[in-house]
């Protein structure tokens, strides 16, 4: 079965420090993977997507993710956290049908 596992339910970082949100996937074929962000009282927004082109994917707001087949991982990173990054982040598997991970809540410490 195809699925994603988000390894941390909650991550806290100080403003200006790097962000790492971890995601592992399980798939019998080359997957399409995405990261979505959900701010309070707002709809889910696509941050970036991997569809078997470049393994390093750049998204909006300075986020990027690297697809590592050997590690079955698709971790989300950002060099320097900003207060506005505080939100819930979802790693997502699929093409037309999306399968969401359980989410990681990112808290930014001033």
């Amino acid at each position: 079965a195809q699925s994603v596992t988000q390894l941390d339910s909650h991550v806290s970082v100080s403003e200006g420090t790097p962000v790492l949100l971890r995601c592992n996937y399980s798939s019998s074929y080359s997957p399409s993977l995405f990261w979505y962000v959900q701010h309070p009282n707002k709809g889910l927004q696509l941050l970036l997507k991997y569809t078997s082109a470049a393994t390093l994917v750049k998204g909006i707001n300075g986020f990027e993710a690297e697809f590592k087949k050997s590690e079955t991982s698709f971790h989300l990173t950002k060099p320097s956290a900003h207060m506005s990054d505080a939100a819930e982040y979802f790693c997502v598997f699929g093409n037309e049908k999306l399968t969401f991970g359980t989410g990681t809540r990112l808290t930014i410490i001033p």
Binding site: S32, N41, K42, G43, L44, Q45, L46, K49, T51, F90, V92, G94, N95, E96, K97, L98, F100, G101, T102, G103
Partner: protein, 118 residues
């Protein structure tokens, strides 16, 4: 910028009552999705429409849930009767049609309707 509209934003109801949620997708988006997001979890697909036809409703509890998209534009999701376990955020999303290839088209999400069943 075009957005997916949903109403109401919040709904409180008592168990055994009927509730309905409305979604207006981005103009021109043929594919419409309803998701349910239980607190602390990721969204789960309930039903997917292609124009006015249901493509996937395998996870829709059909004994109490119904969804329609009569003219292939806006859509309504209904629960009757509501149960305590239905308390959740109900999200609507839309996307362009992939032409039947099954390839990815970005889904655009509305702000959701938060349902509380007492």
């Amino acid at each position: 910028e075009a957005e997916v509209a949903q109403s109401p934003r919040y709904k409180i109801t008592e168990k055994s009552q009927a509730v309905a949620f409305w979604c207006d997708p981005i103009s021109g988006h043929a594919t419409l999705y309803w998701y349910r997001q239980i607190l602390g979890q990721g969204p789960e697909l309930l039903v997917q429409f292609q124009d006015e036809s249901v493509v996937d409703d395998s996870q829709l509890p059909k004994d109490r849930f119904s969804a329609e998209r009569l003219k292939g534009v806006d859509s309504t999701l209904k629960i009757q009767p509501a149960e305590l376990g239905d308390s959740a955020m109900y999200l609507c999303a839309s996307s362009l049609w992939d032409g039947g290839t099954g390839s990815y088209n970005e889904q655009f999400f509305g702000p959701g309707t938060r349902l509380t069943v007492l």
